[in-house]
């Protein structure tokens, strides 16, 4: 369940940071991303659905995490990626499915080369 997975992850990350820095309390982190502390607490416990994309991006920045990772844990896809896929949905759908089983090093080889032509 995304809510629980997302909540557990951010709680774990936040508490790890709080071990060294008290400014990572629920209250202070909630204040910095402009949500109620009780709401953040419920999110961490999986009692409510993850917040909006904008809040997740802010939270990622706050916790030093990759926004795409937190969005994925929350069952969301960032709006810029959605726009990329919407532009060519069939092509990207096929591409992503074909890449599902590919090892990381093979995916990293899928880079765009500068095309040479006839001079």
């Amino acid at each position: 369940m995304p809510a629980t997975q997302f909540g557990c992850y951010i709680r774990e990350r936040r508490e790890k940071l709080k071990e060294k820095d008290n400014s990572f309390s629920v209250r202070q982190v909630a204040g910095r991303i402009d949500v109620e502390p009780s709401f953040l607490s419920k999110v961490e416990r999986g009692e409510v659905a993850p917040p909006s994309e904008a809040k997740i991006v802010l939270l990622a920045k706050e916790l030093g995490e990759d926004p795409d990772l937190l969005l994925a844990l929350a069952g969301k896809v960032s709006s810029d990626l959605q726009a990329v896929i919407r532009k060519r949905p069939e092509l990207f759908g096929r591409l992503l499915r074909e890449m599902r089983e590919m090892p990381d090093h093979a995916i990293l080889r899928l880079v765009r080369e500068v095309r040479d032509g006839l001079w």
Partner: protein, 332 residues
């Protein structure tokens, strides 16, 4: 393979060696006066934006699609220098309008030693222009293709290619045994300057501008040390900045400061020394080219605005291999 990353061409040859990577970018710079005097190296003002030509197929000349490669924007009479970075040695051949910038000869792909028609990046950190004399280059200055100023047009009588052409060859993996230090030429932010420009034809060529002290170093490797079985080449088209937004939808960089305003502000120029490098002779072909101002005088035109001579009092010496904190020898 060649990738385009953050306005840099990245050449990689993992089959030759894991370290075999060369990055090339094109630095915006101020145009030195074309007044017959020799100037030190101007600064870098940041990289020109580079874009795949394929992304703008509907708004560029069909010949650009045929050539492939990338494109960058330049204003008429703007200057550039080519910046090489990476610790793995590469042999690099640079041409403008398919005229070799070191020898003045027509484009040939293999490496030649007599005369040397390429640069070794282990000695050469950058190239600012055409090698017209030993230790002297004439700065690359953009002029509209077809106006008669470019090196290509002066030598071939044709305005066919324009742009820049680059081919690189890595050192053979087994020969690669030492790393070398690289010096970095200061790059500055780009101050806002505005100036009315004239022509808006899309295709630009490079022409010889003012004289600058810069050596093209002899290759310290044997010709056989270069891996000629592996190479990467790229055609770099130059679009007039006046039409860059129409082509790409992006705003081109601002016009660089003049040499006069730059020098007046006390900002630094540069000289580069390599203790163990000897320089190639200048090209007879290139030495006969008319500079932009010289050609303009023949045509009854004034192609370079704000071409007044400048004093370059603040010259920073860069020496190959100089370590941070190492005491630099000055001029006695």
């Amino acid at each position: 393979m060649i990738e385009l990353k953050k306005d840099q061409l990245v050449f990689q040859f993992p089959d030759v060696h894991a370290d075999a990577e060369l990055r090339i970018d094109f630095q915006r710079t101020l145009r030195i006066p074309d007044d017959g005097r020799e100037y030190p190296l101007p600064p870098g003002l940041g990289s020109f934006p580079l874009r795949h030509v394929d992304d703008f197929a509907e708004s560029i000349p069909s010949s650009w699609i045929s050539h492939g490669g990338v494109m960058l924007p330049m204003y008429q009479s703007e200057a550039l220098w080519v910046n090489f970075s990476g610790r793995y040695p590469f042999a690099v051949k640079v041409a403008t309008g398919k005229i070799n910038a070191v020898t003045g000869e027509a484009w040939k792909e293999a490496l030649n030693r007599d005369p040397q028609d390429y640069m070794s990046t282990s000695e050469q950190p950058w190239l600012d222009g055409y090698c017209v004399e030993k230790g002297v280059i004439r700065q690359f200055v953009a002029m509209p293709l077809g106006s008669g100023y470019s090196a290509e047009e002066q030598i071939t009588g044709e305005a066919e290619y324009g742009g820049l052409q680059i081919v690189v060859y890595p050192l053979k993996g087994k020969v690669y045994e030492r790393t070398r230090r690289w010096v970095t030429r200061s790059t500055l932010g780009s101050p806002l300057f505005s100036k009315c420009m004239r022509s808006a034809a899309p295709d630009m060529g490079l022409a010889p501008g003012g004289r600058m002290r810069q050596e093209i170093y002899d290759d310290s490797f044997d010709l056989d040390d270069w891996d000629l079985r592996h190479s990467g080449r790229c055609f770099v088209h130059i679009a007039n900045s006046m039409v860059w937004r129409d082509i790409t939808g992006e705003k081109p960089p601002t016009v660089p400061p003049t040499a006069r305003s730059y020098s007046k502000a006390g900002l630094p120029w540069f000289d580069f020394y390599s203790d163990n490098g000897s320089a190639v002779d200048g090209s007879d072909i290139l030495s006969k080219l008319k500079s932009v101002v010289g050609m303009g005088a023949e045509k009854g035109e004034i192609p370079l605005p704000e071409n007044e001579s400048v004093k370059t009092n603040n010259v920073v010496m860069l020496r190959k291999g100089l370590r941070k904190g190492q005491v630099r020898e000055g001029r006695f």
